[in-house]
């Protein structure tokens, strides 16, 4: 395989609180190629979200970022805000945590999806736009896209809202999708649906994926490579073998804890006269 | 409490405000013995003088020294406002504490009355009371008290309820009065903080109200010096000597700004106490 330019190359990224200088992420980095899936795992508070948000310039304003983040060769952090804003939606799409609060509570879902589409493709006709939104929703297994479009965010469940967020991927067709804890707020069944959708997304659209999660099962299903973060630093990186044959002590601890939990879960719900 | 006071005093701006207010009060209290002109001394031939010479800020339409009238005005405007605030907060606090402490029927009835009083906009009630009772400084103070006590009552009642609610819950689990007392000492300052913030900020609005009423002629009567009334007199001679409008307005503005700023500082001082060690 020849050396392709990575889609997103993050080098020596450090994030700290601007006023106090306290370090949140230290010298993180990764390389993501087209169509690849990168899994970022670690406990809550390890800095996974902050690192990724900072890499694309969407970190909270109280934080200051140093380092390089090259998108197709261009440094995102050195760009103007306008330059970066041109990339969001069109090329880089962020799927946030907490689907229940991911949409403007006062406006119907359909309007918000249409609005997104129009910001990215301003010249699209209104009939065509509605058709595309309905198509995208239908692809996410919504039986009645029109009803979803008419709904307010408060009328839909967490799982439905998560699928609406994923519908924006099919709608906007970016090159990179960053998914921040896509299954954490959902029950196990909805979570599985979401993972399946990500797999379909990769097959049908060829998007590159950054999957931030503390759920190792998700990573196992999707990631081509992964990095393990702890207290703001990347402590291990590699292919899926990192989970089956962890080198670093902390990774071993993560994997073992998760295995223990999974076994307990199976015991509770599987073979033994399961609880309802 | 000591920590809060220390934090407050550490803030330079807050210190500045407190110094300014203290200075004003000192000037006002000492006015009779200060070497300044008689605020009521009329000298028609010397009217409308610009600042300079014997008159630091010039003279008004009757030749009276403006600086001296400003200083004497402190006694009326500022002292009346402070008196109104103290009485209002004392009455309100007592009422609210009783209601919160008694609970049950008594509490409900007392708060009903407070609710009724709170449905009147303060300015309307103050106007009406002054209107019925007649103009005058004491009547203005009474009007302010009647219009505003209910807010303090409600706040104090909420505080007392909060403390006693927590207290009752803990009482069941706690042995001896020692721990409950500690609890009170932790809860009370934070709650008291809201009270102090309200008192400080409200003082500013009382100063504005009293000077507004005097401006309209419903407060003190001439020749007593009062900032609002000085502005009303200045209005009459606006065409001849517009400068007369300047200083009384500045006096009111700076005094109210001081109290407002202080109120914000007090709020910050109390807030930080609850925000945790490193402001997480």
């Amino acid at each position: 395989m020849s050396e392709r330019t990575p889609l997103l190359l993050v080098e020596d990224l450090s994030v700290s609180v601007a006023s106090t200088g306290r370090s949140i992420v230290s010298s993180a980095g990764f390389a993501l190629h087209e169509g690849e899936c990168l899994g970022i795992v670690g406990e809550s508070g390890a800095g996974k979200s902050i690192m990724t948000l900072s890499a694309i310039g969407l970190q909270p304003r109280v934080l200051s970022v140093r380092g390089r983040s090259l998108w197709k060769g261009e440094d995102l952090l050195a760009m103007t805000a306008k330059g970066r804003a041109a990339l969001y939606g069109r090329q880089i799409l962020l799927i946030v945590q907490q689907p229940m609060s991911a949409f403007d509570p006062l406006i119907r879902i359909g309007h918000q999806l249409l609005e997104s589409l129009r910001c990215v493709s301003p010249r699209i006709g209104s009939q065509e736009a509605i058709r595309r939104v309905e198509q995208a929703l239908a692809a996410l297994r919504f039986e009645d896209p029109a009803r979803i479009m008419r709904s307010f965010p408060c009328e839909l469940s967490g799982g439905q809202l998560q699928r609406c967020m994923l519908a924006t991927v099919r709608l906007l067709k970016p090159s990179l999708v960053i998914a921040d804890e896509p299954t954490s707020a959902l029950d196990v069944l909805s979570g599985k649906e979401v993972v399946n959708e990500f797999m379909r997304m990769r097959e049908e659209l060829g998007v590159a994926l950054i999957m931030i999660t503390h759920d190792l099962g998700v990573v196992q299903a999707l990631a081509d490579q992964l990095i393990v973060m702890r207290q703001g630093a990347v402590i291990e990186r590699g292919g899926p073998h990192v989970l089956t044959n962890p080198q670093h002590e902390y990774t071993r601890y993560l994997v073992n804890t998760r295995l223990a939990l999974a076994e307990a879960f199976t015991r509770l719900t599987g073979n033994g006269g399961g609880r309802a | 409490m000591h920590a809060i006071l220390k934090r407050l005093l550490a803030d330079r701006m807050a210190r500045g405000c407190m110094v300014f207010i203290a200075m004003l009060l000192a000037l006002g209290v000492l006015a009779p013995v200060l070497p300044i002109a008689d605020p009521t001394a009329i000298d028609i031939t010397g009217k409308f003088q610009m600042p300079g010479g014997g008159h630091w800020l010039g003279t008004d339409q009757l030749g009276r020294d403006i600086f001296s009238r400003l200083v004497w005005g402190i006694r009326t405007t500022l002292c009346a406002s402070l008196a109104a605030m103290l009485i209002t907060s004392a009455i309100g606090a007592l009422y609210g504490a009783i209601a919160g402490g008694m609970r049950g029927r008594v509490d409900a009835v007392m708060m009903r009355l407070a609710d009724v009083m709170m449905s009147f906009p303060s300015e309307v009630l103050i106007l009406a009371i002054v209107g019925m009772m007649g103009p005058g400084l004491t009547n203005m103070i009474i009007a302010c008290v009647v219009a505003k006590w209910a807010w303090y009552a409600r706040m104090m009642r909420t505080i007392v309820r909060r403390i006693s609610d927590a207290g009752y819950v803990r009482f069941a689990r706690v042995c001896g009065a020692g721990e409950a007392w500690i609890l009170l000492r932790h809860l009370a300052p934070g709650a008291a903080g809201e009270f102090f913030v309200l008192v400080t900020l409200d003082t500013g609005s009382v100063v504005l109200m009293i000077s507004a009423l005097s401006f309209l002629g419903l407060g003190v009567q001439p020749p007593v010096a009062e900032w609002g009334m000085m502005l009303s007199e200045a209005k009459e001679v606006m065409l001849q000597y517009p400068w007369q409008m300047f200083w009384p307005g500045v006096a009111i503005l700076s005094t109210v700004a001081c109290f407002n700023f202080l109120g914000d500082c007090v709020r910050d001082a109390f807030d930080l106490r609850h925000a945790g060690r490193d402001g997480q």
């Binding site: 969407l58 | 609710d115 106007l127 507004a212 109210v256």
Partner: protein, 308 residues
């Protein structure tokens, strides 16, 4: 939601009763005999016979409770008594003066909204930089500004020196400018602060991050944030109308604006008690009703509360 409205309306009844009692009892505060006042106001000599006769005419010789019931009955049917000065129905005097104040209040509210929104947008965009600090300083100063002083200065500058605007009265559209600007200065700080706080709070919400992350333009994002902030500030903004109406009396006095504030002030100087009583009653009832209306409106605005 209908149940919520019904419940609030029921709770309103004892409050309204209380308001009527307080408004009525206010007259007892007067150190002088209302009958005597009524006589003097009409430039007549208050002889004992005349006083007794006036007392009987005005119904003042009956016990307080009877008088209250009479008065309340009158109020319910729209009769707010008669002015001591010119004998006209108080209700008519108030009805004449009310629209002027409402007009002033609405123009002022529009001004306040524009200034508050503009300053909130500036503060949010340039957070902690120079424009933000300047706007915050201005807001702080206006909160301490005596409204009547600002009115005087504006009047002197624009009406006297420059002669661009009229000094008083309600003739033509330009005569509302100075009163509205003066009145807005007194209240803009309150609302600008609220809107600004709401905007800052809203701009940190999760959906704003997602909106940005899926490519919404800055302009559209600002609109979204503004709408949500207004929703958050709507309760306060709703109550601003009665507050403006109540607080307009100083401005109306300075600029001789023929509204109810000026009516009340004149009544105070004339010791025309029935007008003062009616003013208090109407303002309090207005406040309470507006409170309910704005709570209902705010609940209706938010789809989260509509369904529940």
């Amino acid at each position: 939601m209908a149940r919520m409205i019904l419940r609030r309306l029921l709770l309103l009844v004892p409050i309204l009763f209380g308001i009527s009692i307080v408004s009525f009892v206010l007259i007892a505060l007067s150190p002088s005999d209302p009958a005597e006042v009524a006589i003097r106001v009409n430039a007549m000599v208050p002889t004992p016979e005349l006083i007794a006769q006036t007392r009987h005419e005005l119904g003042l010789d009956e016990p307080m409770l009877t008088r209250y019931v009479h008065w309340l009955g009158g109020v319910m049917s729209g009769d707010l008594g008669r002015s001591y000065v010119n004998g006209r129905a108080v209700a008519a005097e108030i009805a004449e003066a009310f629209p002027a104040t409402v007009y002033l209040a609405l123009v002022t509210l529009a001004l306040i909204l524009v200034i508050s929104l503009a300053s909130a947008v500036i503060c949010a965009r340039y957070e902690n930089r120079l424009p933000d600090k300047f706007v915050r300083l201005m807001i702080f100063l206006t909160s301490a500004l005596p409204g009547f002083w600002a009115g005087l200065l504006l009047m002197w500058l624009f009406a006297v020196e420059l002669d661009w605007l009229p000094t008083s009265g309600m003739r033509g559209p330009e005569s509302v400018i100075l009163p509205a600007v003066t009145l807005s200065l007194a209240y803009v700080s309150t609302y600008a602060r609220i809107v600004r706080a709401e905007m800052i709070r809203t701009s940190h919400e999760n959906w704003v991050l997602f909106a940005r992350g899926r490519g919404l333009t800055d302009a559209r994002l600002t609109v979204h944030v503004l709408l949500n902030s207004l929703r958050g500030a709507a309760t306060a903004l709703g109550m601003s109308i009665p507050k403006l109406i109540a607080g307009a009396f100083v401005v109306e006095s300075i600029f001789a604006w023929p509204g109810i504030g000026r009516l009340c002030i004149t009544a105070i100087f004339n010791r025309d008690f029935p007008i003062i009583q009616a003013y208090v009653l109407i303002m309090a009832v207005l406040f309470v009703l507006f409170n309910l209306a704005s709570d209902v409106f705010v609940a209706w605005l938010d789809p989260r509360e509509r369904g529940g």
